[in-house]
Symmetry: C2
């Protein structure tokens, strides 16, 4: 049995984090049994140390940085963090389940993920300041503090306003348009490979669903994103709905 | 019969341009009969107008910009330029030939190409000033003039020197290392999809072969590139040798 460690929010269903959504989509798509354990931000490090989950990076001060998603697989004793590493682990350990990286596409998917990540640069200034308001108090304090450090100013001053907002929002739209141009090339179906989802879709779906959940479905922001690229992003999230169960 | 329009150099075999190499690899891989017609830079525009090959972009002054590679296919009457468009045309028109974009990978390959292109940014300052010395006089004059405009200074002043050269060359090495990390993910074979080449390999192969031809095999530059990433780039060019006939 796999334990999947995720960060809760105050939103219905708790789930919100784009990085952990990648793993939820992966587990559900592969139909691997698991249960979710919710961990508030300030508890992640002690949880990881207890379970034996390795850090994923170093902090600025050189200390180990522990992040979610992470899993512990009781059938192998393996514990690890980071959505791409988890995806590769699941693929290898459960070879007779639907493929996250269909044969021959592993390298192309990794190039896609790097390229996709670069298209999202304008996203954070809009979404992170709202994200913090959706979290439970212990995570909210941690998230606000660390993201304030990241931006170098209070989160309330991060979202651009006036003309700058228009320019930055257009950059976000242009980023989505780049990804749309790639998707258009598949010639069939909502997924990057056509009618079969793969890990690339779970990543794009996770970051898109993140917008829908954090801005909320009725927000101007989500309505705008939903209108872009002939509704591709709504269709993608909807097409992944069957892999979105929170268990 | 297809006529393939390429730009000659003074190098043995004439061929050198990375963009036209993509098309040569594509035609040879698909085993589609063609003959090469060599066109010096100053003659490209009039050739395209005569054959009915559309421009691929606009110049700064708003005028049409005509580029090679281009093909004219006498069996369909179609004439077009730009290696990706040509690849898509060949794929559609000759469906029973080896695939440049194996089913399901079309979108991923396009994302790869955008991501790959971004890794090459440090290349041009080193290679374009040498390239001009390899061309025939009519193309040399045209190439030097247009690339001088591009860099905003004489080509002889473009290659970095001293410490700056070390830094910029390291950037190039880092770019190759990014692409190497993607390739490593395929887990088997020299190609991005493993043991079968696809258009992504023809693009990476073309830019790598460009380095080998322009710097020349005995140069410090090529020897250095050849030593990177456990010889991956030499192996890639060698693995594509069977699709490198100049006809």
């Amino acid at each position: 049995m796999i334990t999947f460690y995720d960060i809760p929010s105050a939103l219905p269903g708790n789930a919100w984090s784009p990085n952990t959504w990648k793993t939820r989509y992966s587990l559900n798509y592969k139909e691997i049994p698991y249960k979710t354990e919710w961990v508030e931000y300030p508890d992640i490090e002690s949880l990881c140390k207890k379970v034996g989950i390795p850090p994923t990076s170093k902090k600025k001060n050189g200390a180990d940085h522990y992040t979610l998603p992470a899993i512990h697989d009781s059938s192998t004793g393996i514990a690890l963090a980071e959505s791409k590493l988890i995806a590769e682990y699941l693929e290898k350990t459960y070879p007779n389940t639907p493929k996250l990286f269909p044969l021959g596409t592993e390298a192309l998917q990794h190039a896609f993920l790097d390229a996709y990540s670069a298209t999202l640069s304008a996203y954070w200034q809009f979404i992170l300041p709202v994200t913090t308001t959706r979290l439970n108090p212990p995570s909210e304090e941690y998230f606000t503090r660390t993201r304030t450090e990241l931006f170098g100013k209070p989160l309330k001053d991060v979202p651009p306003t006036g003309e700058e907002r228009v320019v930055e929002w257009k950059k976000l739209q242009d980023g989505f348009a780049v990804v749309n141009k790639w998707y258009e090339k598949n010639g069939r179906g909502p997924f990057i490979m056509g009618d079969t989802p793969s890990f690339a879709d779970f990543v794009v779906g996770a970051f898109t669903l993140f917008g829908k959940l954090i801005f909320t479905e009725d927000s101007e922001e989500w309505k705008d994103i939903a209108s872009w690229n002939e509704g591709r992003w709504v269709k993608l999230v909807d097409s992944l709905e069957k892999y979105a169960q929170i268990v």
